[in-house]
C-alpha cells in the first residue's frame, strides 16, 4: 500500500492550500451577501462536481462511455426520498440513508455493467443511454398499481439533514453569523467532496486504477497482461454509480423534492460534458469542468439581459436562447482548441513510472 496521494501541491505548497481552504470556508458567506440563490447555485455546482468525479471513474479512468449516468443519481435521490418523507411515513436519519442509497446505486451500476461487458464505444453508449431512460420511466410509472414513486408528481416534503440539534432546513445564528440551510449544506457538501476526491486519488493510484488504464488503452493487451477485465469493468461501473447514488441522496435532501423530471438524458449529457471538457481522467480537470459548466449558464442568466439593455437599449435576443447559444459556443471552442479538455491528464502517469523505477 502506498500512502502518497497523486495530488499536486500537497507537499511544499502549504500556503496556497491554506489560502484555498480559507477561501472555500468564507465563500458561502460572501455569496450570501449577493443573495442566498448563489449559495444554492454553488451547492448544485458542488453536487455536479461529485457526479462528474463519479462518472470520471467510468469514463475517464476505465474509458467506458456512459450516457445514462444520471440514472444512479436518480436511484440515490429516490432512495433518500422514500426513506425520509411522509410518502411512506418513514423518516430515517440521513447518515443511514446516504450509504443505503450509495449501495443501491452500486448494485444498479453492476446490473447495468453486466450486460454491457462485451460492448464498447458507441454501442456501449446506446445501451447506457437506454438504461438511463428506463430508470427515469420506471420512476415516472411506478405509481400504479402500488404507489411507490408517486409517478410524475414526484415526492415532496423530504426531510432535510439533521445532525443532533442542527436542522439543515432552518437557519441558526452562531457567533453573529447566520448559518442558513444552504450554507450548512455547503459545508457538508465540501466534506463529501474532500472524501470523494481522496477516494478518487487513491483509486487512480491503486492497482485497480492501473488495471482501468490498461483496459482503457487496449482491452486485449490488458487481458493478455493478466487483468480480469470483466470484474475490473464491473467495478468501475459499480464505484462510479455509488458516487452517483451518494450525490442523489444529498440532492433529494437539499431540494426537498424529487421527480423524474430532474433525471432526464440532458443531465447525463451535461455531466459527461463536464468530464470531457475538464479533462477526462484528471481529477482536478474534472472538478474545473464541473464548476465551469455549472456556473457558466447561471452567470449568463444574470448577465445576458443587462448587457443587452446597456449596449442596444432593448432586448434583441431572448436571454434564455442567447444563454444556451453562448454556452454551446463555449463548448465547441474549448473542444476545438483544447481537444483533450481544459486540464488533461498527464500521459506520463507518475504512479507507474515510480513503480518501474523502484
Amino acid at each position: 500500500m502506498r500512502t502518497h496521494l497523486n495530488l499536486p501541491s500537497i507537499k511544499g505548497n502549504v500556503l496556497p492550500m491554506v489560502l484555498l481552504a480559507i477561501a472555500l470556508i468564507a465563500l458561502p458567506f460572501a455569496l450570501a451577501l449577493v443573495g442566498t440563490a448563489w449559495v444554492r447555485i454553488t451547492n448544485f455546482a458542488v453536487l455536479f462536481v461529485l457526479l462528474s468525479l463519479g462518472l470520471n471513474i467510468v469514463v475517464g479512468f476505465a474509458g467506458l462511455l456512459d450516457l445514462g449516468y444520471v440514472a444512479f443519481f436518480a436511484v440515490g435521490a429516490y432512495v433518500y426520498a422514500l426513506l425520509a418523507s411522509p410518502h411512506f411515513g418513514i423518516h430515517l436519519p440521513f447518515w443511514i440513508i446516504l450509504p443505503i442509497g450509495a449501495f443501491v446505486a452500486c448494485i444498479a451500476g453492476a446490473v447495468l455493467g453486466a450486460p454491457t461487458l462485451k460492448l464498447r464505444g458507441d454501442y456501449l453508449a446506446i445501451v447506457t443511454l437506454g438504461f438511463g431512460e428506463i430508470v427515469r420511466i420506471f420512476m415516472n410509472n411506478m405509481s400504479n398499481p402500488i404507489n411507490i414513486t408517486n409517478g410524475p408528481k414526484g415526492i415532496a416534503q423530504i426531510d432535510p439533514f439533521q445532525i443532533g440539534p442542527i436542522d439543515f432546513g432552518k437557519s441558526d445564528l452562531l457567533a453573529g453569523l447566520n448559518f442558513s440551510g444552504p450554507i450548512k449544506y455547503y459545508y457538508f457538501l465540501m466534506l463529501a467532496l474532500m472524501l470523494v476526491v481522496v477516494i478518487n486519488g487513491r483509486l487512480k493510484d491503486s492497482r485497480i486504477g492501473r488495471a482501468w488504464v490498461a483496459i482503457r488503452e487496449d482491452e486485449v493487451a490488458a487481458k493478455a497482461s493478466g487483468i480480469n477485465t470483466r470484474n475490473i469493468k464491473l467495478l468501475a461501473f459499480a464505484m462510479g454509480a455509488s458516487f452517483g447514488g451518494l450525490s442523489g441522496g444529498m440532492f433529494a435532501a437539499i431540494q426537498g423534492f424529487v421527480s423524474p423530471e430532474s433525471f432526464v438524458l440532458n443531465e447525463s449529457i451535461m455531466i459527461l460534458a463536464m468530464v470531457v471538457l475538464g479533462g477526462m481522467g484528471n481529477i482536478f480537470g474534472v472538478i474545473a469542468g464541473a464548476v465551469l459548466l455549472s456556473f457558466l449558464p447561471e452567470i449568463l442568466r444574470y448577465t445576458v439581459e443587462p448587457v443587452q439593455m446597456a449596449v442596444f437599449g432593448h432586448m434583441w435576443i431572448d436571454p434564455e436562447v442567447l444563454r444556451m447559444l453562448i454556452f454551446g459556443l463555449a463548448l465547441v471552442l474549448t473542444m476545438r482548441y483544447r481537444p483533450a479538455g481544459l486540464w488533461p491528464e498527464s500521459r506520463h502517469r507518475r504512479e507507474m513510472t515510480v513503480v518501474a523505477n523502484k
Binding site: E217, S225, G226, N228, T229, H348, A356
Partner: protein, 244 residues
Amino acid sequence: MNRPTNSSSPLLDALNLEIHYGGIAAVKGVSFSVMQGEMVCLLGANGAGKTSTLKALARMINSTGEIRYAGEKINQLPSHVLINKGLALVPEGRGIFARLTIAENLTMGAYHRNDKAEIAADVERIFTMLPRLKEREKQVAGTLSGGEQQMLAIGRALMGRPKLLLLDEPSMGLAPIMVAKVFEVIQSVAAQGVTIFLVEQNALLALKVCSRGYVMESGKITIADTAPNLLADARVRAAYLGEC
C-alpha cells in the same frame, strides 16, 4: 485423455479444436502439440484460422475440443489466469498500450505479480535485451516505430515470465530490416528456454527459425512436418514461398 506430465509430454496440446463465429466455422477441428523448449510455427494464408486458433489457446475466444497446457485442461479457464501459469500471448497488431510510456507498458505486463524488486530487475533485464527501448524508456509507446512496438509487446509478455509464448504474426507490417531484428529477439527469447508457438504468414522466415511447422488452410491443418521438410515441400514452396 489422461497423460502424465513429464519432460517428454507436450507443454501445449490441442485436440480437435473447433471455433465458430456465429454459424461460420473458422477452425474445423485442428490438433497439434508443442514440446517443452520447442519453437513451432503455424503457417497459412489470410483467413486460414491461424489467429483464431491462437486466440483460443490464450482463451480470448471460446472453442470446442481440448486444450492442454502443462498437462492441465485449460478450455474453461478465464484468459487472465493463464499468465500466472506461464502462458503469454503477444496479440496481433502489436497490442501495446499506446498512450503509456515504455516503462509503464513493461510494468503492466507484470500486473499479476507482487514482487516489486523482481519486477524492477526484470524490466532491466528486458532493457538489456532490447537496448533501443531503454533509450526511449520515458517515451509514449504509440510514438515508437512498428518494429519497436513489436519488440515492446514481446518485452511486455516476457514480464509475465512465461514458459510458453504465443506470438501472433510478429512480422506483420514491418520493414524487412525490422522483421529480421524482431526475429533475432524471438530467437534470443527461445534461447533462454521459453517455448514458442508462432503464427506467421512469412513462411520462409518462420521455417528458418522453427524446428517444426503446421500449415493451415481454410480452418484445417493440411501439412505437419519438420521445418527442413516443409522448406523442401513442393506444396509449401508453391503456396507460401512464392515459387511456381
